[in-house]
């Protein structure tokens, strides 16, 4: 799980923008690509024009760190398995079948003999092992992926087209990590003597996917072309062009003037475009889509569970009753978002949809606080505990987020109105992070990005409180720990998700966070695009096509 960050001056506010940045995922998260439909020759051709809000640093298949590079990789590289975008089940990609041992420690993949890289050479076990070895090489800067493979003992070649992953402990994500987290690269092309040589690679992109890398003109655009000899059903689009347009207003303008086919929108622009679309005089014709996607994650207000006053779950629940999530979503986010009650993606099987969010109810908050020992004993308007100490705390905020600033301001006033003394202090991100690491805050507001199926260990297990783990709100609950550990080792999805439902319930009762809302992805599409299907996992640009009469210029290579 990634902590969302970013400072920017964009209109949407950096927290929102960060969330939307990952929501600018114009393809899915890794390992979730779809098998392309079979296209007729008339459908083949045309150029899809998209944009990136910033340029990637590098496109290296293993060391690149930013989301933009991973979107490009999604066109060019493939993994061993992929998720069905609707049922979420695993389907073959480079591997045609697999076996998992009963103890979950050994996972064997059998590669599809038809699989080919773009240079025509077959995808073999050597390539998979090479990819794995390179990634785990400490001199290669692939920290991000390598951290997922920490518990992996080895990846061995068992046959010409068979590989075996061996893991140290049973972990339900081992299968996903083994099969879907590695972009398989050809050994022949990427072999190196000096690791730095590999680290410095940026534009050498040879994979087995349906598109080829054409060129990257820095500051201008990045172009991909169709792989005519792709080993499965080939794509319809002849070219995919990503332009680098940083200014959100310029992006929308380009879309409206027909220079872009598909863009991601911030909530403000969504509202504006909706008005434009409804206005018959404006004469615009485009499609707007709003959907929940796993990558968007959720925002939350974090309470420091280890120290008073937030060491009491009744106090934390009271605080949750003070947040009007509906108002936040309807007004501050223009109605875009869903209230959430737990740390999982609402569309996932881990999320217990039966748990309803606590309502905005200051009276109930007061009642709970009284139960916890906080009431106005001396009539001065502030709540005090039995020791006579006033209920006062400090909000630790990030200096760059307009959304956060608004929510904190509103919540502080709500607190004041029931007698809680709140002060607020803002820090820039790098200093703020040290507060998180030292657990030296009382209340803060942040967000996590999500995945399709996440492991709550990192954030919620009590072992992650010490050191600099991600359990920065010091949540410690024996039952939650037990559920997390058991679920990790449970390989049967049904049993595992039942455990996660119970875990979700524990969090709901304990309220270590006040979960606020989950963002929805907002997209605008040009009317000429065909084949656009909204899957459970979102949209996949690779499966789109453009009718002949709507293409610009000539067929094939023309824009």
């Amino acid at each position: 799980m990634r902590r969302t960050t970013e400072s920017s001056r964009s209109a949407a506010g950096p927290l929102a923008r960060a969330l939307l940045c990952t929501a600018a995922v114009l393809c899915f998260t890794p390992g979730a690509a779809a098998k392309l439909p079979a296209f007729t020759p008339e459908q083949v051709g045309g150029t899809l024009r998209l944009n990136f809000n910033a340029e990637p640093q590098t496109l290296n298949p293993l060391t690149s760190r930013d989301a933009y590079a991973s979107y490009i990789h999604d066109y060019i590289f493939e993994q061993l398995i992929e998720r069905n975008p609707d049922t979420l089940e695993w389907e073959p990609m480079l591997a045609e079948r697999w076996e998992v041992s009963d103890d979950g420690l050994t996972i064997t993949f059998h590669l599809d003999p038809k699989a080919r890289f773009s240079d025509g050479s077959p995808v073999t076990a050597d390539d998979v092992v090479f990819t794995y070895e390179t990634m785990r090489n400490p001199k290669i800067d692939a920290f991000r992926i390598a951290s997922y493979f920490q518990m992996c003992e080895a990846c061995e070649k068992v046959g010409e087209r068979t590989v075996r992953f061996r893991w140290k402990e049973p972990y339900f994500k081992s299968f996903e990590v083994s099969g879907a987290f590695l972009n398989i690269i050809p050994k022949r092309v990427y072999a190196f003597d000096d690791p730095e040589e590999f680290n410095n690679l940026s534009t050498r992109l040879v994979g087995s996917g349906p598109f080829l890398f054409d060129r990257w003109t820095k500051g201008q655009e990045l172009v991909l072309v169709r792989h005519d000899a792709y080993w499965r059903n080939q794509a319809a689009l002849a070219r995919v062009v990503y332009r680098f347009i940083l200014n959100p207003r310029a992006v929308v303008q380009a879309f409206l003037s027909g220079d872009l086919d598909y863009i991601a929108l911030s909530p403000e622009w969504w509202v504006k475009l909706r008005k434009l679309k409804d206005d018959p005089r404006a004469g615009y014709d485009f499609r707007l889509m709003k959907y929940s996607a796993p990558g968007n994650g959720y925002s939350y207000i974090g309470w420091q569970n280890a120290k008073p006053p937030f060491d009491d779950p009744r106090v934390r629940t009271a605080m949750t009753h003070l947040v009007d999530r509906r108002a936040v979503i309807d007004k501050l986010l223009y109605g875009i978002g869903t209230p959430v009650t737990g740390p999982f993606w609402t569309g996932s099987l881990q999320y217990d949809a039966g748990l309803k969010p606590y309502a905005y109810d200051p009276a109930e908050a007061l009642r709970l606080l009284k139960q916890a020992g906080w009431e106005d004993r001396d009539g001065d308007g502030w709540l005090d505990n039995a020791k006579g100490e006033r209920f006062a705390f400090e909000f630790t905020g990030i200096s760059d987020s307009e959304f956060q600033r608004d929510v904190i301001r509103l919540l502080s006033e709500e607190c004041r109105r029931i007698g809680i003394d709140v002060s607020v202090r803002y820090w820039e991100w790098s200093v703020f992070v040290t507060h998180l690491d030292n657990r030296s805050y009382q209340a803060t507001m942040l967000a996590w990005t999500g995945t399709i199926e996440g492991d709550p260990f990192q954030v919620w297990h009590s072992s992650q409180i010490e050191g600099r783990g991600s359990n920065h709100m010091s949540f410690r609950n024996a039952e939650a720990d037990r559920l997390i550990e058991e679920a990790r080792a449970t390989l049967d999805p049904a049993k595992r998700n039942a455990l996660y439902h119970r875990f979700h319930r524990v969090l709901h009762e304990q309220q270590p966070y006040t979960f606020v809302e989950e963002r929805e992805s907002l997209r605008a599409l040009a009317p000429r695009l065909e084949g656009v299907t909204l899957h459970r996992l979102g949209l996949d640009t690779k499966e789109w096509w453009i009718p002949k009469d709507k293409r610009l210029g000539g067929e094939g290579s023309a824009p």
């Binding site: 403000e268 947040v323 007004k331 308007g381 509103l410 709500e414 007698g419 200093v431």
Partner: protein, 401 residues
Amino acid sequence: MSEAEKRDDGAVLSGPPKSYGTIVWGQLRKRPSAMVSIAVIVLLGAVGVFAPLLGGDVPIRWVENGKVSWPVFHQMTNLEYVALAGFLLVLALPLTMRLFRRGGRGVGTSPFARAMGVHLLVWLLLAATLFLARAPDRAYKAYLDRRAQADGAWFPPIAYPRDPGFKELVENFYEAPSRHHPLGTGRIGDDVLIGIIYGTRTALSIGFVAVGISLAIGVGLGAASGYFGGWIDLVLMRVAEVFMLIPGLVLIIIILAVIPASFPPIWAVILVLGVTRWTGSFRLMRAEILRIRGEDYITAARALGIPTWRLLLRHAVPNGLAPILVGATFGIAGAVFLEASLAFLGLVQTASWGTMLNDGRQHLEYWWVWASAGAAIFVTVFVYNLLGEAIRDAIDPRLKI
């Protein structure tokens, strides 16, 4: 100081020399632009100082169960009282000056200085007493909600919470101007007019304190440079050059960007503005002192044994002060301007007009937010600019600027 005497035959004998300040003031009085500017500035000051009486959810007078209370005064902080007292004392200066003038003539300390001294003393005593003896009442008492239960209540003209809660967010999100909200409401249901009223405080405090700091530094260093001369002068001139080399905005941006965000932003802005804009008054003060030192009457006075510093204080400072005053007035306008620019660049988040303007920019269709803030900035800056021009013209015949 007596007025000029008119003799019976019509000749006018001028009385004892009028002080420089009186001459300038006389010039200013003749110009309508100056008087209007001063009036507006006083009005702005009044708005800032009396803000809780103009907008907010705390009533001025509250009668419940037969008991009369004045909640707004209980809730005003000590700082607000000190500012209020300061404002009133400054307004009262002309009266005190008149008292001193009637008391006696002569070339002792000017009545202005004496009046200032007295007022300053009173103000400091008041401030000390307040801060030591009083703690304001900050708790929330739902006066607006309980309005019906009171026997009598006088609310400020804009009776609306200063800080909105979720209820206000839901009911008053970006409302256009109406009877209840003369300038409409903003993104979190906050009343724009209240924002403007309280924004006056930010604008004026940034203006005055920042310029005050830069004046203190500039005049102090300039006097030192001119008085001591030698290598002190050399060093100080180089230092000033260093500050003058980097264009003001760039230097301010660099410093502000690296000040930790946890530092109270309003003080960050004030300090940065104060510390980077002292070179103007520095050069003026230094030039004036150097000029004076060359004058014959100074040499004569020194020959008589009068210490140099006293001469400089009596002659250089008052003369040099005039152009410095012009610079200061423009400086206040500039500070308000700069604060808006800094808010726009995202370097600082204060509760000010600049922030309102910047926030309002995102949604041009809710024009009342940015138009109000923009108008407020414009009026304030314009008025100070007018005043600066007027003072400059007033002293023009005497000094070349």
